[in-house]
Amino acid sequence: MHSIFLGAAIVLLLLMLLCLVRVVGGPTVLDRILGGNVIGTHTTVLLLLIGVLYGNVGMFVDIAIAYALLNFIATLGAAKYFLRRKEVHLDTDQ
């Protein structure tokens, strides 16, 4: 059972690395925000998996709750900011 949780955590880390490709080279700024949001969602689950692997979930649950709240607020704030800015394309010659 322990090795299954470890395998799931490693797969989640690899998926987060793949998401980083979209964060680095997205066509618009909103793509980068989307990639960051997805990485944050994966991190929330990954924190719970790390808690199970370490044997005390009770400590890591609080960290996961705080991380989920921070991720949600950061996404909303960035979306509102670029809703005012009107310039989201990284290449300006279009």
Binding site: I65, F82, L83
Partner: protein
């Protein structure tokens, strides 16, 4: 019990993988958002449910409290994921990110 936990874990990781594949491969911002929003929400729900069930394997009062906390994360993800997706879609629509269409079939 452990069979249910393993099935939920595999389903959640599979949904996460499908969502990341959609983010990497789809041609447009809106289609990427379509892949990311739903797959991430359902994958998180399945994985968090698996962890809450695994935590309840030896049934004590402390474990029950920790499982209820994990279920509160599930409730928050269930509300916050679609809200974030909707906010991003609204920002893209207002700013004017144009949707992808097939060549020559522009409406």
């Amino acid at each position: 019990m452990s069979v249910v936990v393993i099935a939920l874990l595999v389903a959640g990781v599979f949904l996460f993988a499908v969502g990341v594949l959609g983010i990497l491969r789809f041609p447009d911002f809106y289609t990427r958002l379509h892949a990311a929003g739903k797959c991430d929400t359902l994958g998180s729900i399945l994985l968090i449910l698996a962890l809450a069930l695994f935590n309840l394997q030896e049934f004590t009062f402390a474990n029950l409290l920790v499982s209820l906390k994990i279920l509160s994360i599930l409730l928050f993800v269930f509300v916050a994921g679609p809200t974030a997706t909707h906010a991003l879609t609204e920002a893209a629509l207002v700013v004017g990110v144009e949707p992808w269409t097939k060549e020559g079939k522009r409406p």
